[in-house]
Amino acid sequence: MCLAIPGKLLEIFDENGLKMGNIDFAGSVSKACLEYVPEIEIGQYTIVHAGFALSVLNEEEAKNSFDAWDDLIDRANAEGIEMEKLERPD
């Protein structure tokens, strides 16, 4: 459960004494509480659930996932199976 998708932090502001942010989801901007991600900086990605940012997305780890999957593809290519390299989130 727990629908939460990654969005980009555009700005930080205060509301009712809480640290809040405007998060951009591919052009739809939504407000979320940033109290649980005190270290977050503008431009970073975070996942938001029920109006609360819960984690700062680790871009290094995301790249690692792709490295691992690229390995699968490299091995497939070595076996003579055609596979396209995927687009990395640079």
Binding site: L3, G7, D24, A26, S28, V29, A32
Partner: protein, 349 residues
Amino acid sequence: MDFPEALSCPVPILSHDTVQLAHGAGGKLSNEMIDKIFLPRFMNSTLEKMEDQAVLENPGGRIAFSTDTFVVDPIFFPGGDIGDLAINGTVNDIAMSGAIPKYLSVGFILEEGLPFETLHRIVLSMEKAAKLAGVQIVTGDTKVVNRGSCDKLFINTSGFGFVPNGVNISASNLEVGDKILLSGTLADHGMAVMTTREGLSFQSTVESDTAGLNHLVQDMLAVSTNIHALRDPTRGGLATSLNEFSSSSQVGIQLYGDAIPVKENVRGACEILGIDPLYVANEGKLVAIVPPEVADEMLNAMRANEHGKSATIIGEVTDKHPGIVAMQTGLGANRIVDMPVGEQLPRIC
């Protein structure tokens, strides 16, 4: 064509700033409202007679007649307002029969206390939409109800047009092998409204797609009059329209998930709210079922029209699983696209 925009067309001066109960009573105040707010914007030779009914020429043949009532909240949203919807909604329902919409009636239910400035803005939208569609508003009615008895305003529009000979469009006409064409991106309208509603904390960039589609339909009929089915997927979204087709014709429908176009910012809004774009209302899109041999030419004609620029083929009619709409996922699996149950609610889980 040049249309007066709200800023350059100031609110007419009336004896009150807001709608009173007396404005619906049929007396002097009613006449003032009609003369100053409605007549100047909807003017045509039939309406100006101000009879209790509109008497119109009948060239003969079949009539396509439709009615719809508009109660959307909020009444203003990015990309349009309730006035746009009221005109385009009925124009489109008529147009989906292949008929050229000609005449509309408009019935207003106004809440006591509604600012005339608001009403004027909406009437301007209706004027513009009607002119773009090429329809005349030939008769109308206004009632005013006590504060609290309706939410700002409700609008009913009814209308008709004449169906050309040889055109027989129906949900029961689908044939195995037919292609399914969608005129553009899904979920724009529903998400524009949903993200504008207070409380969802959205700075919405999503805009409603409200538009009259009658000219698009005529462009399509010019390619071939053998369009099997047409629908504008409003409430319940594309999924509902396709399920209705599949059920009426007792055929299966196979969709290709990857082919279905959704704008990026609409997707973002859908993702964060947990809403499936297949079930969200559209107000300026149509889905057409056509024989395979005309599909490509039909698509080109659609793309040449301003309201069909992103038209694409999204699937086909199949003899497998009659009465059921299925969609292929990226993994190659097939899943059902069922009828929705009730309103689409933002999901938390």
